[in-house]
Symmetry: C2
């Protein structure tokens, strides 16, 4: 997707240049088919198209410039790693490549075959030298949210600088204590890495900055309550994906501009699909770039996606950090509490997620839920069973899909999703 002018930079990052060129070509074609082919897109999506086209180019150049200016790059794979701390330490905080089927053969030397596509992908990206984000990192923060990642990080640590953040498994007082000690440990680790002290002033500014990003995404999500749907699920997913690696200030401004356009569109009664088009809530596992398979199938099957109940979606944007505190202690507590609210399937029980899905279905006027699990993702596969029962009781149809990044099951998925959508009409 990016121009050849970045080849020197990619070589410096030790990427596998021919393979990387190939990856970008495939990604460009894929993006064209899935995104640029849409009609009636909002003008503000041009910014997202540009960011995506420069995902391994200009954005990586910015990271290199930041590094040259003495800033550190922090990579993550999970919404539990508080971006606020990285920013307050003067670092750049980015999500890493994990959405494409690359380096699978290499990855399966390090992790079992029965490992979800996301984990295999981030290891594959590293071993195949195809992710300039990973190669730019001064530190990667892993976490213990699932067995797959927890154990995969042990192998991954032999290839990248890695620190593990322990996420507890319940939400009792003792868990909060553990989690707070982990947040404080991360704070110290980031201060040591960057050489910058995280002052109350800096943390306060970072909390405001990340909250502003979440507020913009919350605004976007609220606007999607409109019927006809003013923006496609594909575009909304892309926005959420880009939120993990774009510059947060620039990103927030661009999303607010886009939301202005959406408001105008809603006022004009316009949308990306006719009013009455079946509306689906997508729920479950995260979809990292360029994992657009399911949204594309859904929106090619006569439905529109109106929400993403996912880490790359509302699980990352629902809750703000309280901005009331001004002392360091108070702000750390606010961070601890906000992150412990996340309704990840790693918790037992995780009743909040059940309630949040019901609320989203209602607010977004969803006609049904498409539950998406990555194959071998035990936490979300388990919850899918329970959520289907709860939704059934509430009279909300749900289709459970377990898939990976391969395209082998596209036709089968299309058949199932078309039948589901037909049933909703």
């Amino acid at each position: 997707m990016s121009a050849t002018s970045y080849h020197a930079m990619w070589e410096q990052l030790n990427l596998d240049i021919p393979a990387h060129d190939g990856l970008l070509a495939v990604l460009g074609k894929f993006y064209g088919d899935i995104y640029l082919s849409q009609s009636g897109r909002l003008q503000g999506m041009e910014y997202l198209d540009f960011v995506l086209s420069e995902v391994h180019g200009l954005r990586i150049k910015e990271l290199q410039d930041a590094k040259a200016a003495g800033r550190k790059i922090i990579g993550t794979f999970c919404v539990f790693v508080p971006e606020e701390l990285s920013l307050a330490a003067g670092a750049v905080h980015i999500g890493l490549c994990s959405g494409a089927e690359v380096g699978s053969a290499e990855a399966e030397q390090l992790v079992p075959r029965n490992t979800c596509a996301l984990i295999k992908s981030f290891i594959g990206f590293k071993l195949a030298r195809l992710c300039p984000f990973t190669e730019s990192c001064d530190l990667i923060i892993g976490e213990t949210t699932c067995d797959g990642k927890k154990k995969a990080y042990e192998a991954f640590a032999e290839h990248v600088p890695l620190e593990i953040l322990e996420v507890p498994q319940r939400k009792e007082a003792a868990d909060r204590t553990l989690w707070k000690s982990e947040v404080l440990r991360l704070k110290t680790r980031l201060e040591e890495l960057t050489g910058n002290t995280i002052t109350a002033e800096k943390l306060q500014a970072a909390i405001k900055l990340v909250n502003d990003k979440r507020r913009a995404l919350q605004r976007l999500n609220r606007l999607r309550q409109a019927d006809p749907a003013p923006i496609s699920g594909r575009d909304a997913l892309l926005i959420n994906q880009v939120s993990f690696y774009d510059d947060p200030v620039r990103f927030t401004a661009s999303i607010n501009t886009l939301c202005d356009q959406i408001e105008a569109r809603i006022a004009g009664g316009e949308g990306v699909a006719p009013a009455g088009t079946p509306r689906l809530l997508l729920s479950g596992c995260p979809m990292a770039v360029p994992n657009w398979k399911l949204p594309f199938i859904v929106e090619s099957s006569g439905a529109v996606i109106v929400g993403e109940e996912s880490c790359i979606g509302t699980r990352n944007t629902r809750d703000l950090v309280s901005e009331e505190a001004t002392t360091m202690d108070g702000m750390i507590d606010a961070l601890v509490d906000r992150y412990l609210k996340i309704d990840c399937a790693c918790f037992t029980p995780n009743l909040e997620r059940q309630a949040n899905i019901q609320t989203m279905v209602k607010d977004l006027k969803a006609d049904g839920v498409l539950h998406y699990s990555l194959m071998f993702c035990q936490p979300y596969e388990h919850e899918a069973i329970k959520i289907e029962k709860t939704l059934q009781q509430a009279g909300v149809p749900m289709l459970a899909i377990a898939t990976d990044y391969s395209m082998e099951d596209v036709e089968q998925l299309k058949t199932r999703i078309e039948a589901f959508v037909e049933m909703l009409k």
Copy 2:
């Protein structure tokens, strides 16, 4: 296996009598083929044969008698649940059925198909009403050792009285704090359930009692260093399995008697296989009754098993609780520390296990390691990859097997294991 005289008791426990009769018949046949067919067995194994033959009979009768006398029955699926606390509270502490393929269709209504056989089994035993141990329980203590169990317990809790014990994922100071609070919470819960206060005196006696059981099993394991091997791996596994549900005092005495016989056998240079028979260490996931598939294949393939690096093996018996403390606080700390030593794959990192395997290989003079993972058990499947590398560096051959409870892969496993054993000669 048991006589029909228990039918009234089983009916009271609401077992599915015809299905249960069928299960016992299959189990009896299976036990005959795998166990009673062995030649040169130790006389002391008669006790184990008896216990196994009465596993759903006399032992269940004992539990009913205990209940009638006001004692509570605590069921578990994991070595992290401190038996000492149950005993100090005057309760009976037992492991529950999870080693046979029963009720799979019912279980798959509650948990994903991609769930390990052990989890499907305990849910299947409950839903199919086939486990008199589960039906006798006043409380079952689950734990958060893996995603599969953690999430399966949420569904299981709708069918049994369940309490979840949170096992942390690292072994740092903050984790010990969490774990200690969980141990104390369990103590309170057991006191409430039983109506008995856990006094320092009772806890001290319980620590001694459980340590004595571990000491007997440690003694057995040490004796297995002898060549020729004085006891089959099948019999040693059975002993470890029975240790989870037999009366601990009676069991300990019988194992010490058996060890006396083993010592005499070693003194006479006798064994269950000729000196020089390839010796294998079995390592990995637990094997609950009647999961004897792999040991039987191994010992029918010209090798002998000399150790079980497993929860139903040394992971449960390696470490004693320190008996130095006499105060409640001191004993709780001793319990906390002992259980946090467990080298379960749920921890990250889990370097202790690597070291423990190497030590066992050396002490037991094992010629190779057979690593056994239950299919879809991510923690142990991950560790298998790492352990194979470490053992390779140490010049110890390892064969990694991932299987379940079905008999469909027996011939394939036999071929692989025979080839492995041949290589060791």
